[in-house]
């Protein structure tokens, strides 16, 4: 099950210095709310991505805490201002302790 969890990230093409880029992210995850019941009436235990954080060249850009009210396959779009080329690093934390990581290189033109 955990093997299906995969982050997807979209960054704009040809960024320039000083641009404010829109980054779109999605991570495939069931986000089991802990409210649902299975066929036998037993509650399915909660398992969600409870935190997300983004850094650019090690500097924090955005971090968030999620509750079960976030939809399955949590989608998040946000902005980042780029003054230099670098690496955008992403981290998602699962209720079960797993941390999913991803990185995107941003190279500025000119």
């Amino acid at each position: 099950m955990a093997d299906d969890i995969k982050p997807r990230i979209r960054i704009p093409q040809n960024p320039k210095k000083g641009d404010v880029l829109e980054i779109k992210t999605l991570i495939t995850h069931p986000m089991e709310s802990g409210q649902r019941k299975d066929a036998e009436g037993k509650t399915i235990p909660r398992r969600i991505v409870n935190a997300v954080s983004v850094t650019y060249n090690g500097k924090p850009v955005l971090s968030g805490k999620y509750e079960p009210a976030i939809s399955a396959n949590p989608y998040l779009a946000f902005f980042v201002k780029v003054e230099e080329s670098g690496t955008l690093a992403f981290e998602w934390k699962d209720d079960d302790g797993t941390v999913y990581k991803a990185e995107e290189k941003i190279t500025l033109a000119g």
Partner: protein
């Protein structure tokens, strides 16, 4: 057919109707307890202490969401996002879900622009309330009601 057997049949029909009504009531009460606007307000007070002002925050969401499983919500806060004046945090709650909390975000000047889009589960028609905390400590708030056709928390 004797009149007595007709009476019996009627009784059976009435009895069956009663059972259905009882079952219907049962399902209503078996639904998970939902948060109230008061609970949402209380949660916001613990997340960001103080009295929020109107303005600067914009919440975009569909007026009518057919599927409560994934309602796109866009939150933007009017701020220059400089070192001196930026948005520190954004808290999102929904007052009609089993638990009012949705998400909290911390921002930094590196964002350049304070705008996020995410997808939220909504169990029923309800208000999404957003409170933004600025770097100088002031709070701004906005709310948007979303009508939900099919709720997204059961199953």
């Amino acid at each position: 057919m004797s009149s007595e057997s007709v009476m019996n049949r009627r009784r059976v029909v009435v009895g069956a109707l009663g059972m259905t009504a009882a079952a219907a009531l049962g399902t209503i009460f078996a639904r998970p307890a939902s948060a109230t606007p008061e609970a949402a307000k209380q949660l916001l007070q613990t997340l960001a202490k103080g009295e929020p002002r109107e303005g600067r925050v914009t919440v975009k969401a569909p007026e009518i969401a057919e599927n409560g499983n994934a309602v796109p919500v866009t939150v933007s806060v009017d701020s220059p996002m400089t070192e001196k004046d930026h948005v520190k945090a954004v808290h999102i709650v929904a007052d009609g879900n089993p638990n009012p909390g949705v998400a909290s975000f911390n921002f930094s000047p590196a964002s350049g622009k304070c705008e996020i889009q995410l997808r939220v589960r909504m169990a029923q028609t309800q208000k999404v309330v957003v409170v933004a905390e600025m770097s100088d400590g002031t709070l701004y708030s906005a709310a948007r009601e979303v009508k939900v056709t099919i709720g997204g928390c059961g199953g």
